[in-house]
């Protein structure tokens, strides 16, 4: 029995380097970073000062009245990205399409801004009640539900929360649902809005956030930089896309998952290797076929060294032939939303034969000696790519993509 193929027909992005796919991709190929001093939270009592905030995003431009009231910022990002992706795909949802579609979103903390507002109201302002919609705005499934409601999607709808791997898990799940014939199409991705005082102080306490910027694989890297935003992709069966005459942007061909079962924050090389191997096996692609890996590449001393070692170990002699980069250097680490943004970057890379750069790279690190695309994007014929995510809690999820070449 032949396996159903799953293709991508729409992408949508809201990020620090662009509030739609076009401007996002333009920033990527120009190596333009969106990292700078954050302003949505008072930086005075926070030891790090930089982040990748979404600028020039005005909710009232996108939503009105009731819809606006119901959504915390992470849901707003998710819906805007979903709308762009669906518009590009050309899918028009009716009852039949709604029931044969899925929505799966990733997020690590959901509506944290609404949550923090509620805490502030009670503990600081001594109010006797919080906003009546605090629960619907805070709940991590809000984005998935809002997208489902907006488009009338009545098939499988849920949210996945696996820290930094959330969106890869979400997209991977959607891919498998379609491949296994559970549904015909899906909107999948994720979003995150980490800029609240408590959340930033929590990250400060863990001491993994850089004081300057995000420099993945560079010898002088100091850590990660938090970012906000979201991305969604429309996935559908190849038959469905062809029947509609849809323009196909790329193909998703494999999904791998693993758990380190090791440490609650420190990544484990063996776990990362298992996830990449599983994605390759699921994709039925040879290791020697992979051209590009969009790495997890957080810019922490530990992750980048581990990820390099894992890639070298499983790809063997081919490791020196493939190229890697970390787009977190430009859009920041969106936590539960990051791998959705990275999926779009990877799909666009394959589509355009352009390797995204790793911005802010300064000094080679002998322990990160893969072919890191540094600072400037590069033209290269690309066919297969992986997108890695290795999350806190030791949860790993890897997606495999193929360039769409017409059949």
């Amino acid at each position: 029995m032949s396996t159903r193929r799953v293709v991508i027909t729409g992408t949508g992005v809201v990020s620090a380097i662009g509030t739609d796919t076009g401007s996002f991709w333009e920033s990527i190929i120009r190596g333009r970073s969106g990292i700078g001093p954050f302003s949505s939270v008072d930086p005075d009592k926070i030891r790090f000062k930089n982040g990748a905030e979404v600028r020039n995003f005005y909710p009232e431009d996108h939503f009105h009245g009731k819809e606006l009231d119901m959504m915390d910022r992470f849901s707003q990002f998710a819906l805007v990205a979903a709308k762009e992706a669906v518009h590009q795909s050309g899918v028009e949802f009716d009852d039949e399409k709604g029931s044969s579609s899925a929505v799966i979103c990733g997020t690590s903390i959901g509506g944290v801004i609404a949550q923090e507002t509620a805490y502030s109201d009670l503990y600081r302002e001594n109010k006797s009640r919080v906003h009546p919609l605090s629960i619907p705005k805070t709940m991590p499934n809000s984005a998935s539900s809002i997208i489902s409601m907006h488009f009338g999607i009545t098939g499988p709808v849920y949210t996945v929360s696996t820290a930094c791997a959330s969106s890869n898990h979400a997209i991977g799940n959607a891919f498998w649902l379609i491949r296994n014939g559970i549904c015909e199409r899906a909107i999948a991705g994720g979003s995150e809005t980490p800029f609240t005082y408590t959340f930033l102080k929590s990250w400060e306490a863990l001491r993994v956030v850089a004081q300057d910027t995000c420099r993945p694989f560079s010898m002088n890297r100091q850590g990660m930089i938090l970012g906000e935003g979201g991305a969604m992709i429309v996935l559908e069966s190849l038959e469905s896309a062809k029947d509609r005459g849809a323009e196909i942007l790329g193909e998703i061909i494999g999904f791998g998952m693993s758990s380190d079962a090791s440490h609650i924050t420190k990544p484990d090389q063996a776990g990362a290797e298992r996830a990449m191997k599983m994605a390759m096996k699921d994709a039925k692609v040879l290791f020697s076929d992979v051209d590009y890996i969009n790495t997890h590449g957080t810019g922490t001393p530990v992750n980048d060294k581990m990820e390099t070692a894992a890639i070298k170990n499983i790809f063997g002699s081919h490791a020196k032939n493939l190229s890697v980069s970390s787009t977190k250097s430009m859009h920041g680490h969106l936590l539960g939303g990051t791998s959705a943004v990275e999926a779009v970057a990877t799909i666009m890379a394959l589509r355009n034969d352009i390797l995204p750069p790793t911005a802010n790279y300064e000094i080679p690190d002998p322990e990160c000696d893969l072919d890191v695309v540094t600072n400037i994007s590069r033209y290269e014929k690309l066919t297969y790519a992986l997108s890695n995510s290795f999350a806190f809690g030791g949860l790993n999820a890897v997606l495999a993509f193929r360039k769409w070449e017409g059949k």
Partner: protein
């Protein structure tokens, strides 16, 4: 009591109480690894020491925070600033 002893005793108290490390195994020359501490344990110890001595230790110092002696040195230096 000299500052080194004060800081060392505080480190010992924290590790015994919070991490259950036997007091007899904690020496100035002990490495965190020898004491069975990982990177998260080191971050937690640093936070407790910052609170105890009202100092701020920047992230860049973490890489030098691998032994009890280094921890004592780091705190003493921060106190003297």
């Amino acid at each position: 009591m000299d500052m080194t002893s004060v800081v060392f005793d505080k480190i010992k108290d924290i590790l015994v109480l919070k991490k259950g490390i036997p007091a007899g195994s904690i020496h100035l020359e002990s490495s965190f690894e020898e004491l069975g501490m990982d990177s998260l344990d080191a971050v937690e110890l640093l936070a407790d020491l910052e609170d105890a001595f009202s100092v701020d230790i920047p992230n860049s110092e973490l890489q030098h925070f691998k032994t009890i002696q280094q921890a004592v040195n780091g705190i003493e230096e921060a106190i003297s600033k």
